[in-house]
Amino acid sequence: MIDYKKIKKSLKRALKSIEQMELLEELMKAQQTGQLPPHLSPRMLASEFSIATQQFIQQLQLPVSSEPSPPASAPSNGEPPPMGYEEWLKKLQMRQGGQPIAPAPSAPSALSSGAGVDEAIRQSEARLRTIIDATPLGICITNADYIFEYVNKAYADIYGYHPSEMLGKPFTMIVEQDKVDFWRDLHDKYLAGYKEIRGEWNTVHKSGKKLTILADAARIVGADGKPKKVTFVMDVTELSKLREESRLNEMQMMQTEKMSSLGQMVAGLAHEMNTPLGFVKNNIEMLEAKNKETKELIALYEKLRSQIMYGSPNDVALLLSQIDTVSQKVKNRVWQESDSLFRSSVEGINRIQDLILNLKNFSRLDEADFKPTDINENIESTLKIAGHLFKGGIQVIKEFSPLPPVQAFPAQMNQVFLNLITNAVHAVDERTGRITIKTMHQGNSVVIKVIDNGKGIPPENLKKIFDPFFTTKPVGQGTGLGLSIAYKIIEKHGGKIEVQSQVGRGTEFTITLPVSGSAQLSTTKQGVSSPFADSPFAE
């Protein structure tokens, strides 16, 4: 009758879904909003758990109030929303070959006639008790006065009590004492049918230790004809701790990746700026010395003028020879080259100006928002920032088509382009390397291709390149996060990133971005619905 395997499977699925939480995605979101999600996608977890508990209810054939649980709001990652309870129930019944059964009629009227029926009820009750006591799922029944009318062993175990210590007591014994009013209110609203319980909650163990539980509930009508709440509970404290730990680890790694790309960029930029600074400063110093000599010459000339008018021929001759000496000194190579020294100094300053402008464009700190973005322009400024990478014989070919503006975070897009370009530079030969960057407008999409003629990626690595921490670089030279971050960024923008590669021939990355932007991004700001772990449904 009871399909424990199925329950176990559902529970396992719930556990798995916790593990599979897309940490990175949440982190990216956190980066954009500057807020950390208190829990990772509790909704997804809840919907899995909900299926498991509903299945359980069905298996027990508990009389359930016919009102369906409103489905949890659709998860943001495009998965189908969890099934409504009724829909699910029907499906299950059909699968079992039976007729869809109507929800059981309310208990008192159905159970009031005949001894045979009484016997059947007794048997049914005994069976239920056995099953409920044996299940690893915590189950309790509370009434409208918040009193535990029933707790199974698993439920009491979760909180460190014996069932007898809980029975007859208000359920608020297991919640944080300053939130008792909130919980009572929630309980009232649940029984009245306009609040849901599904999700993660903070509760308190007998020892005072905080527990994170995953809960779902059903409304039933008790033998006394009054509404009751059946709650199903699973302790996920350890899991949420683990999740938190791995989240912190990922954060650290992301930071390392950011710092390591930043470090490389700073190194390149410092060199790119200090080089022109070196010759500009030197040129100016040399020209300054020349300027002093020229001034000296002018002073001598003025003296000469007055000496010609009023002085002796001897004085004039002396001054003339002085002028000759100084002018000989002036006319050295620096003087001969002074025009080009001035020109190259201005060029050097222009170069520095250009770098600073592009650095500003690249970081887009002044425009951190999601906005219409010219992808061609972004690639241009990224190329300038990455300019120091192309110093060898690496050829860069730009094949840009006119593009409509794309809804995007410009700084993030630049991060993606810089990553792809840097990878391409690392893949190609310094002398014969060729990197082609193409942009195209196709239908409602913008397509960007970064193609290199480098060493290519072996098939066994190709499927792993977007995995976090996958790297073929020696320890310390790459965090293996660059492409996984690029992947996440493109995904966030509602686009996709694909790769094709042939060993020895080269690699081609293709990014496709929707022109109109994605619904996902526009809701990102509201995506983190609430900072509180105990209100997963508060929008």
């Binding site: 410092a270 030197n282 080259e337 110093k391 310094e430 002398r431």
Partner: protein, 315 residues
């Protein structure tokens, strides 16, 4: 001067080469090369006194170029001048390129001129010495296997367990002194025939880098090696320019690399003793007439050094 000293500048930026050659063409014969390969070619054809190279260049880095330059023209003095170099490049420039100075771009013209003037004098003396003794470089004989070396080592590290390991590793071949304190270590030196001082960068109250700079100032013949677990490019640059450090080891390092470092440091020590012109620190002291240090304690020595550095006219 009958013939001008010859300089070689290597940089992939033509405007740097032009600017520098104009700066020095009055007093020197200036060669320029746009790449390491071109630079090596010039070294093969001309006698170059001082080589000044950029670090970040395509195809061949400055450190790689200087390593090869050292083989072609061992008497030349090597200077790395760059807009930016990461720690690895700085460390390699000491250990592999054995450079005399590390100069940041944009440079200070007066200091650069003085540095190059000094470097040229050193090379001139080296050449004169080489003419006197046909063998400028002493025979590189390692002591016989069973014999105990006449040269003694001094290790300074705040970790006594590391010190014990060093002692175990080098004795009995070398008499090895150990100390956890800079001031104690300083008092050991005059009593023994110390050839090499190896110090950790973290010595508690005194920075190991400062300590080695002080040792080199007081005893220019002693060869110094810095061990560090912190990755600090700025410190490494100081160790080159102020401390003329012989090797810069990043902890943890393989035993074998420490052994090789010590062996080659001993050879370097012999070279310094036999050929004063190889001793850049000693040359610097006499060239700039630095007063002989009268400092007794390490603290006094460091204060003197700091004062000297602020008035130094070279890099």
């Amino acid at each position: 001067m009958s013939s001008q000293a010859q300089l070689l500048f290597v940089d992939d930026e033509p405007l740097i080469l032009k600017s520098l050659s104009l700066l020095f063409s009055e007093s020197y014969t200036v060669f320029t090369a746009g790449s390491g390969t071109e630079g090596l070619d010039i070294l093969k054809r001309h006698t170059i006194d001082v080589i000044i190279s950029d670090q970040r260049m395509p195809h061949m880095s400055g450190v790689d170029f200087l390593r090869l330059a050292k083989e072609i023209s061992p008497n030349s003095i090597r200077i790395l001048m760059t807009g930016y170099a990461d720690l690895q490049a700085v460390v390699d420039s000491v250990n592999v390129g054995e450079i005399f100075r590390y100069v940041n771009k944009p440079w200070n013209t007066e200091k650069l001129k003085e540095t190059i003037r000094f470097a040229c004098t050193v090379v001139e003396q080296r050449r004169a010495m080489a003419k006197l003794h046909t063998t400028a470089i002493p025979a590189l004989k390692t002591p016989s296997a069973e014999g105990v070396s006449e040269f003694e080592l001094l290790f300074v590290d705040s970790n006594p367990r590391h010190l014990e390991q060093f002692k175990d590793f080098f004795e009995p071949k070398y008499r090895t002194h150990i100390s956890t304190h800079a001031s104690e270590a300083l008092s050991i030196i005059p009593k023994h025939n110390i050839a090499v001082v190896v110090a950790d960068s973290a010595l508690g109250e005194i920075d190991g880098a400062d300590f080695l700079i002080a040792i080199k100032e007081k005893y220019p013949n002693i060869v110094t090696v810095l061990m560090t677990s912190s990755q600090d490019a700025k410190q490494a640059i100081r160790m080159i320019n102020e401390g003329q450090v012989y090797r810069y080891l990043v902890k943890p390092f393989p035993r074998e690399s420490l052994r090789l470092t010590i062996e080659s440091a001993i050879i370097h020590f012999k070279l310094l003793r036999q050929n004063p012109s190889a001793n850049l620190k000693a040359m610097e002291k006499s060239f700039f007439r630095n007063p002989e240090s009268s400092a007794r304690s390490i603290e006094e020595l460091l204060i003197q050094l700091r004062n000297n550095i602020s008035i130094k006219s070279i890099y």
